[in-house]
């Protein structure tokens, strides 16, 4: 069997990290191709249920990223998001969910190199952890098609 390649879903905000990831590409910086980027208007819009869905649909790791504090396009979206993440991450840890698979970052539109570095380090970390079978096996009936479907 070939080496395990993790599937990483990145939830990013439109104004900073998405533009930052775009800059990574236009700067021709190479980074791991394991990441699937989902663009949302703001980190304030990143509902915790989206992260739950990513895991139940076969993700091995999740990245959540947006504008640095004080740089939010909507002034306060990332401040609200930060409070939510603090509570949410602690709750997941309390339930025994593997929080080493959830990574949070601030990546601005000018930080193309930082985005590549974030993705690469997350991919390496999650590759070392292996597939998140514990979560995927919660719904045994659907597990098969999910893994194939997630491509």
């Amino acid at each position: 069997m070939s080496e395990f390649e993790p599937k990483i879903i990145a939830f990013v905000c439109n104004w900073c990290t998405y533009a930052g990831a775009d800059l990574t590409g236009t700067s021709r910086i190479k980074y791991a191709s394991n990441v699937r980027i989902v663009r949302l208007p703001c980190t304030g819009r990143i509902d915790f249920m989206l992260l739950m869905k990513a895991f139940s649909r076969g993700a091995d790791g999740v990245i959540v990223s947006g504008c640095h504090p004080n740089d939010c396009h909507y002034t306060s979206g990332n401040f609200h998001a930060r409070r939510r993440w603090i509570v949410f991450k602690s709750l997941l840890d309390f339930m025994g969910i593997d929080v080493r698979r959830i990574h949070f970052a601030w990546v601005s539109a000018a930080e193309g190199a930082k985005w590549a570095e974030v993705v690469n380090s997350v991919v390496n970390d999650v590759r070392a952890l292996g597939p998140y079978d514990g979560y995927k096996n919660l719904a045994p009936i659907a597990a098969d098609w999910r893994i194939q479907d997630a491509g």
């Binding site: 509570v87 709750l91 969910i97 719904a139």
Partner: protein, 262 residues
């Protein structure tokens, strides 16, 4: 105390200040049920003892109850906290509800308005009991794997009857995420995934709002300690955001501290 509470209920009803008094009455067996008193003479059916712990504020947002007219509600401290939170969330306005307050030492309290009730209840520190703290700490001390197995085990019996939601006075949304199937946020079958998603979602939607009345736990037919989750969040909010805001996730400080965002 009982006589004073009954008299107050009688006065409120006969003077026409309220049209219903929501209180506690004898149910079947040794149980206590919620009573809706509509006539002054019926006020003698009200009881008040240590069994009377249900959070009666759950009825205040129900349409059927609103249709009865202005209610008065028998309220211990957690119920008063709930009403305060419902006011903050614009679900209950000043003048819409009268409160027959019951102090921690079972004295009947007179509040001219909800504002004075809110002031009274704000002065009482909001914190977990020693037992509750110990239960949260016990879980925190386990390894992640042990916690995972613990929750899989206790949640395995959950059939998602949603009694926890129905009993919760702050779960008043008319359209709950759990009923949304485009997309299907929470898996319907009662397997590990759906149960986990439901309990995480419930706890997160109560983050910063839960008053720790314990009705979700009392309503659960399987006695799942699901209020451990909300108690954990109450602990976190007190630790990390410095005391209970009215609604901690509705506010922020530019210098909120975390150690995991790179």
């Amino acid at each position: 105390m009982l006589a004073k509470m009954r008299q107050k209920a009688k006065d409120l009803l006969s003077s026409g200040v309220v049209s219903t008094v929501i209180g506690y009455g004898e149910g079947s067996g040794n149980r206590v049920r919620a009573l809706f008193i509509r006539k002054p003479d019926d006020a003698d059916k009200l009881i008040l003892d240590e069994r009377c712990v249900q959070n009666l504020a759950v009825y205040l947002t129900k349409r059927e109850v609103r249709a009865l007219g202005r209610p008065a509600v028998v309220a211990r401290v957690p119920v008063m906290r709930t009403i305060q939170q419902l006011m903050f969330e614009k679900q209950v306005a000043e003048g819409e509800v009268a409160v027959i307050g019951i102090s921690p030492d079972s004295q009947v309290l007179d509040f001219p308005d909800l504002k004075s009730m809110a002031e009274y209840v704000s002065a009482i520190p909001f914190e977990l009991s020693a037992d509750e703290k110990a239960a949260v700490e016990k879980l925190e001390k386990m390894t992640a794997g042990e916690r995972w197995n613990f929750w899989l085990d206790v949640l395995s019996g959950c059939s998602k009857c949603y009694a926890c939601r129905q009993s919760c006075p702050l779960c008043y949304c008319e359209r709950c995420t759990v009923e949304c199937n485009q997309p299907q946020w929470v898996s319907v079958p009662s397997h590990g995934l759906g149960n986990l998603e439901w309990h995480i979602m419930r706890a997160m939607h109560l983050a910063g709002r839960c008053v720790n009345c314990g009705d979700c736990f009392r309503a659960c037919p399987l006695e799942i300690p699901l209020n451990l989750l909300t108690q954990k969040i109450i602990t976190d909010i007190a630790d990390k955001f410095g005391g209970a805001d009215e609604y901690a996730l509705n506010a922020f400080k530019p210098d909120d501290k975390e150690d995991f965002i790179r």
